[in-house]
């Protein structure tokens, strides 16, 4: 179902303008097509009728700025992350090199009344992405939450501290290798021998 538009030649040169893509490879979605033209490594994927663009994580903030300023995506609705450590079947769009973490940002355009989702693959060795707070101040709490629960750093965030867990908490609870700390159920005072 996915329209693969991957151009490996231009990886590592984010500033260089990407050459126009072949017409048949262009995403059906105009915003996604514009993003793919602008960022060489962007990959469009249609997920259950929703537009999803996979991006190199270095471009997340730039893409956010582009969506806000040029495509009228007025609001960043949500920022979250996924840990794919123990997936049975790894869900990823064709052409995407899967990494352990994914940072997911949902955008909403009030004027055009549509949504788009950006997903960045984030490796375990260097869990960091550029912060969207410069473009969308409303992602402040959400990025702190992702930092708190996944340990993914948002470079450029003004106040990247734990938000939900206590400050002296060790670990990032929503990582799959962080135990959920399930306490075995005991029946205190049960007189019967066990």
């Amino acid at each position: 179902m996915a329209d693969e538009v991957r151009e490996p030649d231009h990886e590592g040169e984010p500033e260089a303008p990407a050459p126009p893509r072949p017409v048949e490879d262009r995403p059906s979605d105009e915003v996604a097509a514009a993003l793919c033209d602008r960022f060489a490594d962007a990959i469009f994927f249609e997920s259950h009728g929703q537009s999803v663009v996979y991006l190199d994580r270095a471009h997340l903030a730039d893409a956010g700025g582009y969506l806000r300023d040029d495509e009228q995506f007025t609001m960043c609705v949500d920022v979250t992350a996924v840990d794919h450590l123990v997936d049975g079947v790894r869900h990823a769009a064709p052409g995407v090199a899967p990494e352990r973490f994914e940072v997911v940002a949902n955008f909403l355009s009030h004027t055009r009344n549509r949504r788009i989702r950006l997903i960045c693959e984030v490796p375990e060795s260097d869990p960091s992405v550029p912060s969207l707070t410069g473009v969308y101040p409303g992602t402040d709490f959400a990025e702190r939450e992702v930092f708190d629960l996944f340990g993914i750093r948002f470079d450029g965030h003004p106040d990247l501290t734990r938000i939900l867990m206590p400050d002296d908490w060790v670990g990032h609870p929503l990582r799959k290798d962080d135990p959920s700390a399930r306490v075995p159920v005991t029946f205190k005072g049960d007189p019967r021998p066990r």
Partner: protein, 463 residues
Amino acid sequence: MSDELAGVTDPNVLDPSEDAIAEPIGSQEAAADHPFHRVPADEARLERQTGEGAQELRTREREIVMTGGTWPVDELGDTMVINMGPQHPSTHGVLRIMMELDSEEVVRAKAIIGYLHTGMEKTGEELTYVQGATNVTRMDYASPLSNELVYATAVERLLDLEVPERATWMRMMLVELNRISSHLLFQATNGMDIGAVSMIIYGWREREEVLRLLESITGLRMNHDYIRVGGVAADLPDGWREHVLNTMDIVEAGVAEYDALLSENPIWLERTVGIGAITTEECIALSITGPILRSTGFAWDLRKAQPYLAYDDVDFDVIFTENGDVFDRYRIRLYEILESVKIVRQCVANMPGGDYRVQDRKVTPPPRARIDESMEALIHHFKLFTEGFKVPAGETYTAVESPRGEIGCYMVSDGSGKPVRMHIRGPSFYNLQAMGPMVRNSLVADAVAIVSSIDPILGEVDR
């Protein structure tokens, strides 16, 4: 004023001279030069204020200030940092607000959350899709059915499942009933926070009627677990039409009463009009949705803008006002009750027949009677409620309009019976970001009104 108070009790300064008191409040440059404001004194003051006024969380007192993020200590001039919460009667549960005060005026405020962090997203990854609704319904406990709805629609989208028409209309009716009960709760608590204490009696009077109606339909007053993947848990009970219509009449009469009691009450207006104003641009920049966004003059409602369920087929209006202050947020929630009453009445009139859950054996358990006579049905029932069903690998984001704004569910499946990620975008979580800008330069008493008008449900903020 703060100079004077601090000077009297500050152990480091025994004799504050005359000019220190006469110093105009707020001129921080001049104050910084004065010996009174040397750094050790500030340190001691900070320790004392946070140690006394704060909830002592750890023995290391210095770090109390830092809890929940850095606080610019060096800029602390004539001001004083106090804590509100997490155990404070008007912070809607366990919200904690750190405020920097210049006498009565709030210079800065910061919401510190997480005191109700329940690890629901982690628990959601350990539960099957059948059990998941039980988990999400406890997030926003004032409007549990919206949570269940967004969860169920996310799973249904991954499954490509079409819900029967009757289930759609039942869902819509219940979500609107829930919106009524949630807004009635807001009217009660908002009134109490601002000082109209009789509102808690009146608001609960009508809310109780709605809760009884919900109990008769879903079996529980709260945390219903009624909207499930593929439909709803049970059909409507006998005599539901009369019960619903009677309750709607009671609610309408109640709303008229609140309107008469508050909307032109000079004390109420004094406390709410022009307090905590915010503009549309600020709201959009801060990802704020729901009644707060609509109170700024922007009629954005997902029920109209991106219709789901059967909102296309019912007639209702999106309430919006222009000023974006506490009073407007109160008014919007009041009149939204009436719009919801309108929708519920149309649901009663147009409720279609048919199945209340999809006849797809993959997600729907066999009827109870079949279990008694068929071994296969018993095994099927058992498997469905222990192992659940498998959902094809994929990811999706669904959003609906809860009473507090856009509630979203980002769901990732790896093809197994449990989600890889179940993330709920809680509207209160984002709306709370507006608290800082709205509270700035207001009085402490107004800060209470502002926090109340945001209507945060901490279960959803912290999840």
